[in-house]
């Protein structure tokens, strides 16, 4: 009996080792990074939350990525394609998707993922595969401190978002007491920490709370909002949760101003008079974008917000690197990575120049604050 048990245990260990061995991305080795690939029909990876709680965001990003790719191919007579991976904004799904993309030697660069926690989850996979990836919306400040050497982003960092949000609350909203709730994800805690620091340094009283993303009952937290609270700040990613929080505030007669970070910038968060920070300007009405918007809307409709245009720019940056690496009609991951640092766009559709510093940040990126009442979106900071 003991022998049988030992045999079973050994068999299980061997099976586990085999599974682990087959699961490891063989072609994600550094050698794969130097392998030249023919440029015809070369795929660009795309990672975004195409389904799940923030599917509206992923859909928008996917459409703008596809639109950017088609425009680029048409203008440059190239034939790049998009290979999409759905992450649902879930780090473990992002890891699985990243393993798949890294194992595909024809993928030389990736647009995405969308969330900071996903970037952290895929960092070591892409570092090992020497695979460049450019995020259109990941803003966590720690992502560009050198820990993720193949990472780039077209938007600003949470540190600059938190600083600009906190200063806006002080200068424009005359905040005396701010109620900050993080959603226990790295994106959220990063902004909440930094904004809290800036507010406290300027003498504003800060109440700091925390709640899980899966929670729908915020009533106990709402009860804690004091009558002297001027602003409730929600640096969250699930816009529907922001709306629930607002409705539960209304239910308890709390009238503080509500301010959401860029993660809440969607139609699901409908609080009237809300303030929203955004990593990109609303390009509607911006000079030189009318034709592009018309062309986009004829294909995908007019329901889009601020997540799409940065994806257009991120895709454009990655395709520029692909094109540069494809000079001899063959390209490697190492070449695409090196060419990402050389990308320079004088003026993107966001109205700002684009280039990357040695840690992958765009030095020209900045944040904006909008006040939204009904369908009216006013740039206020």
């Amino acid at each position: 009996m003991k022998k049988a048990g030992l045999f079973l245990l050994t068999a299980m260990l061997v099976a586990a080792a085999l599974v682990a061995a087959t699961a490891s991305p063989v072609s994600a080795s550094p050698a794969a990074a130097a392998k030249p690939i023919a440029c015809t029909g070369l795929p660009v990876g795309f990672m975004g939350p195409i389904t799940g709680s923030v599917a509206f965001l992923g859909d928008e990003q996917l459409h703008w990525a596809q639109f950017s790719l088609d425009s680029f191919n048409k203008a440059n007579k190239t034939s790049f394609t998009l290979q999409q991976v759905d992450t649902q904004l879930n780090p473990s799904l992002a890891q699985t998707g990243a393993t798949k993309l890294a194992a595909d030697s024809s993928v030389l660069g990736v647009v995405g993922p969308a969330g900071s926690q996903e970037v952290q989850a895929v960092g070591s996979i892409y570092k090992r595969a020497k695979l460049a990836y450019v995020s259109m919306s990941a803003t966590n400040a720690t992502l560009t401190t050198g820990k993720y050497p193949t990472f780039f982003r077209v938007v600003g960092s949470d540190k600059s978002q938190a600083d600009s949000d906190a200063n806006f609350m002080i200068k424009k909203l005359h905040a005396k007491r701010v109620f900050i709730v993080d959603d226990q994800e790295s994106y959220s805690t990063g902004i909440a920490d930094e904004a809290g620091k800036v507010l406290k340094a300027k003498g504003v009283k800060v109440d700091r709370e925390s709640v899980n993303q899966k929670t729908t009952d915020f009533s106990s937290l709402v009860s804690k909002i004091s009558d002297s609270t001027t602003v409730v700040f929600l640096p969250w990613q699930v816009a529907a949760n922001g709306q629930l929080f607002y409705e539960q505030m209304r239910e308890q007669g709390k009238n503080a101003k509500i301010f959401g970070s860029d993660g809440l910038d969607s139609g699901d968060f409908k609080a009237s008079g809300r303030y929203i920070s955004s990593f990109a300007r609303d390009i509607r009405g911006t000079r030189g974008t009318a034709g592009l918007i018309k062309s986009y809307e004829s294909r995908y409709g007019s329901k889009w917000g601020t997540f799409g245009p940065p994806t257009y720019v991120a895709t454009q940056a990655m395709l520029s690197a692909y094109k540069a690496a494809c000079k001899d009609n063959k390209a490697t991951r190492s070449e695409v990575l090196a060419d990402m640092y050389k990308v320079k766009i004088g003026k993107t559709i966001l109205g700002l120049p684009l280039s990357f510093n040695r840690h992958g940040d765009n030095p020209s990126a900045k944040f904006y604050v909008y006040q939204i009442t009904g369908s009216k979106r006013t740039l206020v900071g």
Binding site: G52, S210, D217, S219
Partner: protein, 307 residues
């Protein structure tokens, strides 16, 4: 004081939902000694049935029938649908294993749970759905009514009153009807009950129907007050409901009610007075503390066996 009273309202609302879920766990355990881990997912299906009825009748923004009737229909359909689902689960997943070792139906329960979650994922996609009940009647169901320091919205009153009504009805059913007596007899000794002429299969079917119907009602309540429904919502709620059943004394109906309220209040008060970050840790810490002091739960009694 205001804050304390407000937490009572929040805790009782949440506790009402947990209590209704806990009742299903407790009733099934009382009769079959089975932990029905699919129960949380029956609650999820109930929430989706309520969502479906709401949308069939025009949705929250423009309902085509009067709102009270709409709410009654949502509850009715969710309770009926969940109850029938519970009966089907019992018939196909548990009854064939009734005389198998106790681990077999437990595994079967986990299998049913995964099946329901994935079926909902397939049918409704992973996207969140919202009851948008804030739009019902122009938001008036969420506007707080004031009574001294107490602020409570009509929707929370509906939830608390509906829960109380269902609990009273269940207590009367179990205590005063012939079928209720049969349920108690079966819970006490299934074999002896069968020998006394009680149709044990029928009792079990009724137990599953009632427990699952209550979970369906809880699903609609959550949809109305907290609005968001999705395929995985049964997991945490089921876990909390199970905890409530254990705290109250699993197998004991008043214990499940008490346990639900206890967990709901513990969660609300710990969020406000201790830490919002660790409220779940505190709730499950309370569970451990209660079980250390009273291993059979607040109202549970130890089985006494003649040896």
């Amino acid at each position: 004081m205001d804050l304390f009273v407000q937490q009572l309202v929040n805790g009782v609302t949440l506790g009402s939902v947990y209590a209704l879920i806990a009742l299903g766990y407790s009733m099934v355990y009382g009769i079959l000694k089975l932990l029905n881990f699919a129960h949380g997912d029956v609650y999820m299906i109930g929430a989706f049935i309520g969502y479906g009825v709401l949308n069939v009748f025009g949705g929250s923004v423009s309902p085509v029938i009067p709102i009270p009737l709409l709410i009654v229909l949502m509850f009715g359909a969710a309770m009926l649908g969940s109850g029938l689902l519970g009966v089907a689960i019992e018939r196909f997943a548990y009854r064939p294993l009734r005389n198998a070792p106790r681990i077999a139906p437990l595994i079967s329960a986990l299998g049913v749970s995964f099946f329901l979650q994935n079926a909902a994922l397939l049918l409704f996609s992973p996207n969140f759905r919202s009851y948008d009940s804030f739009e019902l009647s122009g938001g008036s169901l969420f506007l707080p009514l004031h009574a001294g320091v107490l602020k409570i919205s009509p929707l929370r009153i509906i939830v608390i009153v509906a829960t109380l009504g269902l609990m009273v009805a269940l207590t009367l059913f179990v205590g005063r009807t012939q079928l209720g007596r049969a349920m108690r007899a079966t819970a006490f000794d299934r074999e002896a009950a069968a020998m006394m002429g009680i149709d044990v299969d029928k009792v079990i079917v009724v137990t599953f129907f009632i427990g699952s119907a209550l979970a369906g009602a809880a699903g609609v309540m959550v949809g109305l007050v907290f609005q968001r429904v999705y395929h995985f919502m049964g997991f945490i709620a089921g876990l909390k409901g199970f905890t409530a059943a254990v705290v109250g004394g699993i197998g004991n109906i008043p214990g499940a009610m008490l346990g639900g309220l206890f967990i709901g209040l513990a969660e609300s008060f710990s969020t406000v007075y201790l830490s919002s970050t660790f409220s779940d840790l505190i709730v499950f810490g309370v569970l451990i503390a209660v079980l250390l002091v009273r291993p059979t739960g607040l109202l549970g009694r130890a089985d006494i066996k003649k040896v």
